[in-house]
Point group: C2
Chain length 204, copies 2
Amino acid sequence: MNEHEAVGDARERLMDAAEALFAPKGIAAVTLRDIAAALGLTHASLYYHFPGGKEELFAAVTERSILRHGEGLRSSMESGGPSIRGKLRGAAAWLLSQPAMDLIRMAETDMPALPPETSRRLMGLVYRELILRLQRELDAAVRSGELGPGTDSGLVAGALVGLVESLHSTPPEALSPGRGRLEMARDLIDIVLKGLDFHEGGRE
Amino acid sequence: MNEHEAVGDARERLMDAAEALFAPKGIAAVTLRDIAAALGLTHASLYYHFPGGKEELFAAVTERSILRHGEGLRSSMESGGPSIRGKLRGAAAWLLSQPAMDLIRMAETDMPALPPETSRRLMGLVYRELILRLQRELDAAVRSGELGPGTDSGLVAGALVGLVESLHSTPPEALSPGRGRLEMARDLIDIVLKGLDFHEGGRE
DNA sequence: GTCTATATAAAGATAGAC
DNA sequence: GTCTATCTTTATATAGAC
């Protein structure tokens, strides 16, 4: 142990504070001064950790967030058990445990503010770490007979992410009494699965 | 006819240009100079039409957009025919014909930048003009027996809006060849309807 | 209705002390 | 690693001419 924290911890805490603001509000609505204030620092100090300024910080934080989502989805779907219903419930629980990820805003507002190459890399990561992971599980469920053969896995994977993420911004008043976002997500997953001819256990 | 345009037309064209930028990108990512440039004006000219500046312009444009969406949903669902499937298809066609409306971004970023009373009014309008209109049609379909009695109409209404809007940001590469966003929306609607025990014509 | 010019404030960024 | 001070750019906003 050092006097205060482990080496590199200041950088980690900076990224945490930055993500807490960037993730829900986007790059344009957050200033470096906002982030510094959340840490009790001045904005000039941030350039020590990210010489590239706001763009570099946002890109680093967003990349870390996407990768963490990918890993979180992987492990939460794995621990959801063998059935696609369990996996999707696990995925929803994970997504709702994290700050909202507004993919529409990312595509329309955040990405155009970054260098083209950075933008491409991040959007590619979103596709691989979020959409594709879900899509693969859906495909496996089709092969096992758990889901109907007509399932458009790419379409449904994208829709499920949008669906669950939209629950993040559901105001508390819109929640049925005593039922939280996770219960709502489960209901929606059940509706979609039924629409995809979900058949417990698949063909034997 | 006047020499050029009808009275008040400059204001309308300003709102059109502003909406084209504000709707996809949000209040924080668009400057008054961006909007003025799109019209070949200087930003100072905008204050003639909206003395309250950016906030007033954004609020006016957003309110008009929500009201137009409400009217568009009403008429498109009406012309979709008597079945809930036709109505939802009409609603999807309407939403996809309009600029993307990112409700997550509105709630998380745009609204906090406005005076509390303005924010409340706009969020109330979103609920009444978008969610509630869909919810009422879903409720009617439950009563007629077209949809199962367990349908949580509020949950499904919110989910459908999020679903269709998320298609706006689907990159062209992700579209199956020859199939556009409207076809994708129809597929998703069919999945959801099936999950809600859709029964053509309801009970007789 | 729109312009030029200007005022003011906010935000990104750099330099150098501690 | 963080600060103060400063610079530069960008953005909102106002005043007054045309």
